[in-house]
Symmetry: C2
Subunit: 276 residues, 2 copies
């Protein structure tokens, strides 16, 4: 039986990079959990003594603090810098970008609008870089209530859907003289979904690896199931069942955004030993 | 019988302004016909000795040249300036704006896209202000063939529909990192149409004044007819018929974009004398 991985799966570029940084920062502490996967956080603690802090307020008491992918607010960064703690910045470059745009556009006199969830750490970090504050919106109705001047700049939370972003952009373009649109959406989620769909169409059996309560993993599983009825969702290799692979020629594999590669490798290792 | 004018009708701001400029420029010559209404051009010749030239090449031989609402190319303007001809600029401010945007954005290193008809004088004048040329597109298919860098600026021909403009904007926002959107569409046409619709809903009889071969006048007539079955399209007051107004309480009036006020006033004068 052939085993084939989806063209895109699992961790995005920013998460892979952050874990690599953590692995190279023995004895450091991350401000908040580095990723939403306890197995991986346990591994970083066991192998590299990387601790997890509750928030930025605890960081001033440690020697080395790792800023996680979605960044921290400018205020927290300033406090941390003054405290003398060594700062290791694992902010995803796709988040640093909207932070900088927010800063520059507000300095140039644009009213800055952020499309996203105002309670999300990434959005709060981006928002904090605007000189006179940025407005956070989730819908056209939200934008409609804003009092903006005629020059508007807009960025997006990286994980939003582009179709929703365009609704806001269109509203702004109709109502304001100049709109500077920075499409800061990262394609990782949609790329994983597209790749899962493509692979499921040709596979006889599909294995989707990820948390059973993970929203993006469940979406991947649902997409796989649509195209390949023999699709199975597992959290680790222990859940694999031999009978799934009987008389199958091609086994497709994909994984949710919070699934580390080493879990995926264990799954592949076990499947490759199954005699079909 | 009450006579009521649509909230918006006839000449737009830029055309009114150009005619006012021509009236104050005795013995001048316009580069191309000032507006597409021969009666009005005859009137300007008869009352103010304002001639009409074929194009910019003829302008160097006259003392005073009037630039019409949609402007001329930067090249023609330079030639004219050097010739010593006195230049009277009646370019609509809504066209001067995209000319300036084209200039500034190309100087700042943006690839400039113009949504419009590449053969239209307004578009050619706007395009000529881009430092290294601007791309003119009418559809997403046109944009798709362009090779643009990641920073794009877009303006629109003033008379385009905003829905079509947004299709191009959306395509750019999905495919390019930064898009500076300048909504340079003038609302005059859609405002006239909205106002005609509103008035036709309450009127017993609607008079639409304008050229019978004028596209925008025909659109106004069609909208009026939808809401008021007793709608009539006339070019001047001579075409009015008494029986149209029998037992009517409210006569609504609107006019196409190329219909001068003095023709509208003659129509109103004659209707007000009709006994219903």
């Amino acid at each position: 039986m052939e085993i084939k991985l989806a063209k895109n799966y699992g961790f995005c570029f920013g998460v892979k990079r952050a874990i690599n940084i953590a692995e190279n920062s023995q004895d450091a502490s991350t401000i908040g959990p580095l990723i939403h996967n306890n197995e991986e956080i346990k591994r970083l603690k066991a192998n590299f003594n990387v601790d997890t802090l509750k928030d930025a307020s605890e960081a001033k008491d440690v020697k080395k603090a790792i800023i996680r992918t979605h960044g921290i607010t400018k205020g927290d960064l300033n406090t941390l810098t003054k405290s003398g703690t060594k700062i290791i910045d694992a902010t995803c470059p796709f988040v640093t970008k909207p932070q900088q745009i927010c800063k520059e556009m507000s300095e140039e006199g644009y009213d800055v609008v952020i499309f996203g969830d105002e309670n999300h750490p990434e959005v709060r970090s981006v928002q904090s870089y605007a000189k006179n504050g940025a407005k956070v919106v989730l819908s056209v109705r939200d934008v409609d209530t804003l009092e903006l001047r005629q020059k508007v700049a807009i960025v997006s939370q990286t994980t939003r859907k582009v179709e929703e972003f365009l609704k806001i952009v269109n509203y702004l373009c109709v109502n304001y003289k100049e709109v500077r649109v920075f499409n800061t959406i990262c394609n990782a989620t949609s790329e994983n979904q597209d790749a899962a769909r493509d692979l499921a169409k040709e596979a006889d059996v599909m294995i989707v690896i990820g948390g059973k309560n993970s929203s993006n993993t469940k979406q991947l599983f649902s997409i796989s199931k649509e195209c390949c009825s023999d699709s199975f969702l597992i959290e680790n290799e222990k859940e694999l069942k031999k009978e799934w692979f009987k008389n199958k020629n091609l086994c497709g594999i994909t994984a949710g955004a919070s699934t580390p590669d080493w879990i995926i490798q264990k799954v592949i290792g076990k499947i490759s030993k199954i005699k079909v």
